[in-house]
Amino acid sequence: MATHRRIDVSKTGDVSVVTFTDPKILDEAVIQELGGELFGLVEVDNRKAILLDFTGVEFLSSAALGKLITFDRKLKTAKGRLKFCGLVPGILEVFQVTKLNKVFDIRAERAEALAAFS
């Protein structure tokens, strides 16, 4: 199992629940590292059902959006499923402005998101 610095990963049933260690995801080096750790969940660990829980994340730059899109593509290619939850209103607005709320399945609470996998 890989060690992570930018994310924490736990299991709830078949779903891998990912939380973030950085409240502000904007530094380029952090985003690169974060992307590598997320991609590893699919490419190394072969996880198929992944929930990104953004609780505790206060800020996200557009560079981070790019990593999330690439991550979603990798997971779709592997026939996996991705959902988001716990977005603060500002970050949710970022997804709405960019219409990425149509690309990602965004739920309000973790319980609702986990139920949506079944």
Binding site: L26, D27, E28, A29, E58, F59, S61, S62, A63, L65, G66, K67, I69, T70, D72, R73, P89, G90, V94, V97, T98, K99, L100, K102, V103
Partner: protein, 146 residues
């Protein structure tokens, strides 16, 4: 300290190196001043986002991380208005030619959202003719009571 905490308008002019992470030399003070003037959290989030996008664009896309080039920043914060002007030493670009990343065929493209986010979150955004300088303004709404 060059700043006067009692002043109604805080101004700052500085020159940044073209290095990753240099945006914090601006945003740390900017966010602190917005809090000082009692701007609401939603507006502070919007300004942080737009300023970060403008500064990263200048350093990475404008100056292409060239250590010989710098980014000039002019900031102003008052209880009602935030203005930041970011100028790089690159060749500039035409913001009208940035493709619309919300179109179906570009929706899953990893890049190109910074300009759209700045437009959406700011009251006013203007580029100079060369396209190497952007002016961002956010007007507080509703204005504080006189």
């Amino acid at each position: 300290m060059a700043d006067n905490d009692q002043a109604e308008v805080w101004k700052r002019s500085l020159t940044l190196p073209s290095a990753r992470g240099s945006s914090r030399l601006v945003t740390d003070d900017l966010l602190e001043k917005l809090g000082h003037y009692g701007w609401p959290p939603d507006d502070i989030f919007a300004i942080h986002l737009a300023a970060e996008e403008a500064l990263v664009n200048a350093v990475v896309h404008g100056n292409k991380l060239d250590p010989e080039k710098t980014v000039h920043v002019e900031c102003l914060v008052s209880p009602e208005l935030m203005r930041i002007e970011v100028t790089d030493q690159g060749e500039g670009f035409d913001p009208k030619r940035v493709p619309d990343c919300t179109l179906a065929d570009r929706l899953e493209s990893p890049g190109g959202r910074g300009v759209m986010l700045m437009r959406s979150f700011m009251t006013r955004i203007e580029y100079n003719a060369k396209g190497n300088s952007v002016l961002l303004e956010k007007r507080r709404d509703p204005p504080p009571e006189a």
